[in-house]
Every structure is written in structure tokens, then in C-alpha cells.
Symmetry: C2
Subunit: 100 residues, 2 copies
């Protein structure tokens, strides 16, 4: 089963499979989806960088343990084992800001 | 602290605060963000429906216990206490499809 890429990229929620912590959200196109499925590592697409592998420069790669799709097939959930912090700031999760 | 709505809507990941389960992803504009903050319930924006409250018709509302923002302020994480299933199919989570 694959996402519906007919409207372009789809968001991918990345969750630590062990702790349940939500780590980041990035985007996938068909190419990054295929790379993720082939390699078992998290690959994404961005307008700035095109195809990129999470952690390719930082070393903080993510091993993908489980891939789930939502009811509309337009959102991906990656359950991962991260090799290090998910955020480019060095934080474990990108969601370090409280709105309160 | 508020999301950056300068590029339009932002995705909102909805997570069960108690179990850690990722329930759904929907989108927020400034109006739905403000309604969520004012009411403590989850409100979203869609092209089809405009402003909508999660559960307004189904009864499966979501009490928002915590609101977090990512490093770029362009993604929201809502940690909620759901009154019922998150998915319109009746499933607890929209992510009931395995890609495998």
C-alpha cells in the first residue's frame, strides 16, 4: 500500500517507536517514499533540498521500524529508531516549543 | 507563541496524550488556531468545510491538554483527550493502514 501522491507531497509524521514521542514532520514525494521503503531509513523531499536522507550530514539517521498510512492515504506515519536528536537544533524532538 | 501562518495553513498532528498514539493529522489556519486556544477543543480548517470543530457532528470531540510547536513554527502538535474514535471510519486512529 502506497500514499496518494496525485496532489503532490504528503506529510510524514515521525514518531519514536519506543517512547511514542513525536519527533518531527517532514514531506515525502514518490521518490523519497521509494527510497525509504527500499533502504529502511527515513528519506524526505523538500523544496530547498529535493531528495534528502535524514541524518546524511548530521549522522542522526532514523531506522524505520514501521510505516503506516492514514484513512485517506495522504499522510504517512513513520515509527522509527533514531540514531540521535531529530531536530537540527540538537533537540530530541522538533516540538520543543510550548504554545502556553 | 503562535504558528507562522504566512504561507497558509499548517499541519496539526493529533496525539492521544495518555497513550501516545498518533490519531490524525489535520490543518489549521489562524481562525481555527484561535478557536482551539480559546475553547480548549480541537478546531481545524479544510478547503471543503472551512472552519470545523472536531466532533461537532460525530460527538467525538477532543479536549486539548497541551499545544506544542516545532522549531520552524510551521507544524502544531496537539496532545489531546479524545471523547471517542478520531477517524471518520470509527477507528481509534486514522493510521490504521499498514504499508507492509
Amino acid at each position: 500500500m502506497s500514499p496518494d501522491f496525485s496532489k503532490g507531497v504528503v506529510p510524514a509524521v515521525v514518531q519514536n517507536a519506543e517512547t511514542g514521542k513525536v519527533l518531527m514532520v517532514a514531506y515525502m514525494d514518490e521518490e523519497s517514499w521509494k527510497k525509504t521503503r527500499e533502504t529502511g531509513q527515513a528519506w524526505f523531499h523538500s523544496r530547498e533540498r529535493g531528495l534528502w536522507e535524514k541524518g546524511a550530514t548530521s549522522g542522526n539517521t532514523m531506522e524505520v521500524l514501521e510505516v503506516r498510512l492514514d484513512c485517506d492515504l495522504d499522510t504517512v506515519l513513520l515509527r522509527v529508531k533514531p540514531a540521535g536528536p531529530a531536530c537540527h537544533t540538537g533537540a530530541e524532538s522538533c516540538f520543543f516549543n510550548s504554545a502556553d
